[in-house]
Symmetry: C2
Subunit: 367 residues, 2 copies
């Protein structure tokens, strides 16, 4: 008989709903792993539906439909109740429980629930980068026991964290990670390469829904910085988010503008970025929004750097086009030619698949 | 206390010796996984050293050094004895045992030992493609219970099988896998693209030790076909090795030649391959030794095909250069743009790391 594994899920947005669908659609694969997943709580910011002995699929699915129509859980008829996230943790009557965070909530609102879950021996699976990029002490608390999965936080469904863990577990040494960690910025740099004006490319991408509502949330590079910090901390880096050196794609003075003013003045960025592109092309290179992580060693401190960077045309980063993410791992064993992973690094389906992969792995280990 | 996991290893060649070194060098990572690996038997074709309660590191290392100098285990002073591989399986006094095959031996000589190991509940980890590309019935017997790891058989240390398993476990559907699965053939096609004559490129590669002693073992495409069959069988393919359609890089009449005659007549291949290359370039494409797997569906039978193929210059395969392996997974979720894994697909260190990764994963699951 498969072991029942209980899921307590925070968030029922696009990723959360895709995960619900995948959990219910993969019963066979779960059985192959000797487990059977069931929901005992699904929470959003308004409330939660709970069922200690496992929520019926139809209940979870109707809650997902309600959310998809723009409702929230306290309008849900069945089993609704409102309490703190930490209180939900108490519902699970068994240690074979996984707490899944599909939100983008701030770390402070989640940590009491996470701490309680870990103290009970539950596993933790996150798509949310914020708790993992809070203080080093928080990182160590959440990941220290090896009970946290966070494959979804970097490259969505791409095998990034698992590859890094494999390299470390088998005694390889990571010398450098280079990558493009934002599909949006990858797309914009591709457009720039093809001759587009930067401001027009941003406006166009925003109109298509390919940027955050405020494009500065992409252009600041902060999302890239969070991913870099998670990669580096996996390698043992002991710094903080502010130690990541990030060059935004707009000048500091633009940070204080209203969104409307920022959009209106976007074209002012064209000249500088065209000049950077032309300089790269003049040197036979390509301009990318590149992230570089040097894990450091006894002779050299770690260095995490992201920003517009001129790269060789025939390097993995130089050959990249469009919105793909790419990570190149340069190690003792992959020295001259890196191990490269490439593909879509965003999207609700692939992000949910990374969460499900972590749930299966961690459930397997505690079965 | 970490759980002791016993290893019975067949083969102490380059890959086997690299694995010994990695097993002894990764004690910390093993402890993080809650396990402690120890050798209870190491066998080559001449004999074995055994120690039911765990062989001392120094004994295993001195056996490895003896092999490196060209000796074999029956010359080893300590603990040598000769018996069948199957008899070695009886040594393990606990179910937490992993049998590792680092040989290139024929399936028939190994299967009695493998069957006995599986019947005892041991795990099986293979770098050897032959047992997995024997009959479908053998494949099902070895892999059916999920107790066999074979990441090392395709792309060496690259995350190929684990990625495929992740896609399947999370309910994605694989429509097509395209790849370059031979570093040697990738290198030769790159040289051809740069304008080299094919025969000269083969001779040069052989002189550098980059081909098998008889280059036909690479040029036949049979090694690629075995890897394709393993990928396809992981996807549920029920065919046999002879169902893989492979076009060798030499005409059928060359198969019967002696090695010397074959090498002497190598330049006769130049004209045809140069013509294929020029035709590809003329169409704005590139010539690659490409492997394509269509898993099939109710409307269309599965199709496995490998050979010289003209591919778009800006496709993942077209952009590839040098001896790297590359696998592009086209799936429901990675539809327009595939999930790509690229890097060195051969080498004793990276092959051993794939074996160690499988050992850790399977040990973890039975701990």
């Amino acid at each position: 008989m498969p072991t029942p594994i209980s899921i307590i899920q925070f968030g029922l947005g696009g990723v959360g709903r895709a995960l619900v669908q995948q959990v219910f659609a993969t019963r066979e694969a779960q059985a192959r792993h000797g487990i059977a997943l069931r929901y005992i709580a699904v929470a959003d910011s308004a409330g939660a539906i709970v069922g200690e002995r496992g929520l019926d699929e139809s209940i979870v699915e109707s809650a997902a439909r309600l959310k998809e129509r723009g409702g929230n859980l306290h309008e849900h008829e069945a089993g609704y109740f409102q309490q703190s996230l930490a209180a939900l943790i108490d519902l699970a009557g068994q240690p074979q429980t996984v707490v899944v965070d599909t939100t983008a909530a701030e770390a402070d609102s989640l940590l009491p629930a996470f701490d309680l879950a870990l103290s009970r021996g539950y596993a933790l699976v996150l798509a949310n980068k914020k708790p993992l990029t809070a203080s080093l002490e928080t990182w160590q608390r959440l990941t220290g026991e090896g009970r946290a999965g966070y494959e979804a936080t970097v490259g969505a469904g791409l095998p990034v964290i698992s590859t890094l863990r494999h390299l470390l577990d088998t005694g390889d040494e990571v010398h450098r990670i280079e990558g493009v960690l934002s599909g949006t910025l990858g797309y914009l740099m591709s457009e720039l390469q093809e001759g587009a004006a930067f401001g027009a490319a941003v406006r166009d991408a925003k109109a298509r829904g390919w940027t955050e509502p405020d494009p500065r949330d992409d252009l600041s590079g902060m999302d890239v910085a969070r991913k870099m910090l998670i990669l580096a901390r996996t390698l043992g880096y002991t710094g903080e988010l502010e130690d990541v050196s990030v060059t935004p794609l707009y000048p500091a003075s633009f940070a204080a503008l209203s969104l409307d003013d920022f959009m209106a003045r976007l074209d002012e960025l064209d000249v500088d970025l065209a000049a950077q592109r032309d300089e790269a092309h003049g040197a036979g290179q390509r301009l990318r929004y590149a992230a570089t992580i040097h894990p450091g060693n006894p002779d050299q401190p770690a260095q995490l750097r992201a920003g517009p960077t001129s790269v060789p045309t025939d390097s993995p980063l130089g050959a990249l086009r469009g919105p793909d993410n790419l990570l190149a791992f340069y190690t003792s064993r992959y020295a001259a030619r890196p191990l490269v992973v490439q593909g879509a690094g965003a999207g609700v389906e692939v992000t949910a698949s990374a969460l499900l992969g972590d749930i299966l792995r961690l459930a397997h280990e505690t079965r």
